[in-house]
Assembly symmetry: C2
Homo-oligomer: 214 residues x 2
């Protein structure tokens, strides 16, 4: 019985490892494709070229992604899906709306900086997505803005914030964070933590936060 | 003598009209190309297709633009060049920094809304610009941010604003305005004047404006 359990556990472990490796390969393909789409554009990049860059065969890539269009969708969806899951996690914490908003800005600007090419490829290549997929991403972006707006509204109720129009202010806050992807440079004069601190100050200001430190 | 003057004046007038017509034609080509680049992408759009859309010949287009690349540059340069000239005009007015900033936001968000496709094409297709031309536009964007930063600094001196880092705040303000191009919809729930008023409130907030009305 013990032996059987050990064997089952080992099997489970090996299948978990297999999944991890598979996930790792998928991520590496996505990452390479993203940087090639960023550098050369979606239309100019072939699956052949991506395979060559990774030193693998075309069928290897097709075993992870149905086609180039699915790859583009996964790349475009990355930023919003990470940001949504971050704000959901933060929302569940026992903190005040102002504290949650700060944590969310920290997490999301971090995601935007570490996934800069993904965000830029999305903004540039959205027009190449199938309508349905493009709508799906827009819905998720809407959901993210909605979460931010809800946070702003509870902050108004708890009297931490003063905001006239939480929905429009949420759109502006999303924009202030996304905008970083368009100008951040790893070799630029501002470090990641300086940028996060700055966006945090700006967000506090537009949220009309009481005792916002300037 | 009088006759000669009248003739000269008439010549001048007709040459001015000629220039206006030429400018009008140039603008129409630019506008059509911009909307086709917006809809189909720069690479997928040929000079042939632009000529067809305008119901003119290819040589007609080449008499106004050397090549497709020059057309792209002119399109990409439109937003920043209009915005720079607006802020220069406003800067020359006998007003306080806070008043000038409000006028600038009004003018620039107006430009961004009326030239939405130009801004989006620039962000999407910048990678297709020659390096030198791309640098030229970036320099002008830098100059624009610099003007905003200078306005913020004089506002701090006149004690209308409270800002820790005017340069970074100027980048954020430019971003807040440009961001409108990425989500504005003529059929959306917010009118142009509502959006301008909202961005104005947000800009006042990040500038730490005294007595900012919220």
């Amino acid at each position: 019985m013990d032996n059987l359990n050990t064997e089952k556990k080992a099997q489970r472990k090996s299948s978990a490892l297999k999944e991890e490796i598979s996930e790792f390969k998928r991520e590496r393909i996505k990452e390479t494709a993203c940087h090639m789409f960023y550098r050369d554009g979606y239309e100019a990049t072939t699956i052949d070229a991506i395979a060559k860059q990774l030193n693998v065969t075309k069928p290897f890539i097709y075993s992870y992604f149905k086609n180039k269009s699915e790859l583009l969708f996964e790349i475009c969806n990355t930023g919003v899906s990470l940001s949504l899951s971050a704000i959901n996690d933060i929302d569940a914490l026992p903190k005040t709306p102002a504290e949650k908003l700060k944590l969310a800005v920290h997490a999301v600007v971090g995601i935007i900086i570490s996934h800069q090419a993904y965000i830029v490829v999305y903004e540039r290549e959205e027009k190449n997505l199938d309508n349905g997929l493009s709508r799906l991403i827009r819905q998720q972006r809407g959901l993210f803005d909605h979460r931010v707006a809800a946070l702003l509204e509870s902050g108004c109720e708890s009297e931490e914030f003063t905001i006239k129009d939480p929905v429009m202010t949420a759109t502006t806050i999303s924009g202030m964070m996304t905008w970083v992807a368009f100008w951040y440079s790893a070799t630029g004069k501002w470090s990641e933590s300086e940028i996060i601190a700055h966006v945090m100050t700006m967000v506090s200001a537009v949220a009309g936060e009481k005792m916002a430190s300037r």
